[in-house]
């Protein structure tokens, strides 16, 4: 799995990588999948036990599918709006939406960041490397139903993609990721 290109989602502020295994860049792919009821059903059926837990109040698969799509719509509007205003407004940049991947873990450069969906207790995540206040490069995105990223294959994959994107930006080439994407 190698990065083959970067795409300007919003010129001068929001960029996204594309991997050789995918037809779309990661940002576009996320919103495509979050609007695809077939993909969402497969995902939630596979991860049903994470919906049944206390944290998610046993929401049904059908409810989860609708919640995801509704939140995705708001999320893409918000990301776009801030990416645009951030070009001219100093205090409303993508940095207001993105936060360090781990709470309090602020890095001086190439910080690994996440942006959360808009709805209350949203499980949507966009992962990105921060270049500066209003310049981010998206490495991927996921539906995160549990608290940590270390216990589910699709979230571990996102951690690897973050690392790969950071290497790509820092060195001009990415480390080859030798795994198969699971979702």
């Amino acid at each position: 799995m190698n990065i083959i290109d970067t795409f300007a989602i919003v010129k001068d502020s929001l960029y996204s990588v594309q991997y050789d295994t995918e037809d779309l860049n990661e940002f576009a792919k996320c919103f495509e999948l979050w609007n695809d009821p077939i993909h969402l059903r497969q995902f939630f059926e596979k991860n049903q036990k994470d919906l049944d837990n206390e944290f998610r109040n046993g929401i049904t698969i059908e409810e989860a599918i609708h919640k995801t799509r509704g939140d995705a719509g708001l999320f893409e509007e918000e990301l776009l709006c801030i990416a645009e205003t951030g070009k001219t407004e100093r205090y409303e940049t993508l940095s207001t939406l993105f936060e360090p991947l781990s709470k309090g873990f602020i890095e001086s450069e190439f910080e690994k960041d996440k942006a959360k969906g808009i709805k209350n207790r949203s499980w949507l995540r966009i992962y990105a490397i921060r270049i500066e206040a209003n310049l981010f490069v998206v490495s991927g995105g996921a539906i995160k139903l549990i608290r940590t990223m270390n216990d589910r294959d699709h979230l571990l994959l996102e951690l690897d993609k973050l690392e790969s994107t950071r290497s790509y930006l820092r060195d001009g080439s990415d480390e080859k990721l030798e795994f198969v994407e699971l979702i």
């Binding site: 860049n25 609007n35 695809d36 059908e62 609708h66 270049i131 500066e132 001009g172």
Partner: protein
């Protein structure tokens, strides 16, 4: 490599995304019917799943295609929630899967009488301006006369 060099490299070497922008625009412009299409897709998939559990026909996309006399590819399109469905298709699926998917609130024919200066009439949800085509009720009703008494009575709303 310095941050400035990296910024320049990203800006100069990145291609402009067009896929997402176009699809996001389409999602926004067609939101009203896409919302319904998506909800229908979810409901069909749930019904197929329930049929599979109960071992009732149709329980797969292929079987649904057979029941609808259409291609499995078309059923797949329906299940993606991006198809602008015809009422005929919707009611056919409702019958096949024995589910309700859409409902028309207050299913009745209504003629609305507006204040004099802005006369508009609604017939089967078609808004007609009184000043444009119809000068009075007589003409209005003659245009839409049934020959026999309609089953659904007209309701006049002030």
């Amino acid at each position: 490599m310095s941050i400035d060099k990296i910024k320049n490299r990203i800006r100069e070497n990145s291609k402009q995304d067009s896929t997402w922008i176009e699809r996001a625009k389409s999602r926004r412009e067609n939101k009203a019917w896409l919302d319904i299409s998506f909800a229908i897709a979810v409901k069909i998939a749930s019904a197929l799943k329930a049929n599979k559990t109960a071992n009732v026909f149709p329980k797969t996309q292929k079987e649904l295609a057979k029941a609808m006399v259409c291609s499995p590819q078309y059923v797949n399109k329906l299940l993606r929630g991006t198809e602008n469905l015809q009422l005929e298709t919707i009611t056919k699926i409702e019958q096949i899967l024995d589910i309700n998917m859409i409902q028309v609130v207050d299913f009745e024919t209504i003629v609305q009488e507006q204040p004099e200066n802005s006369q508009t009439y609604t017939i089967f949800n078609k808004i007609i301006s009184g000043g444009e085509w119809y000068v009075n009720y007589k003409e209005l009703f003659e245009e839409y006369s049934y020959g026999i008494e309609p089953d659904i009575p007209f309701k006049s709303v002030a």
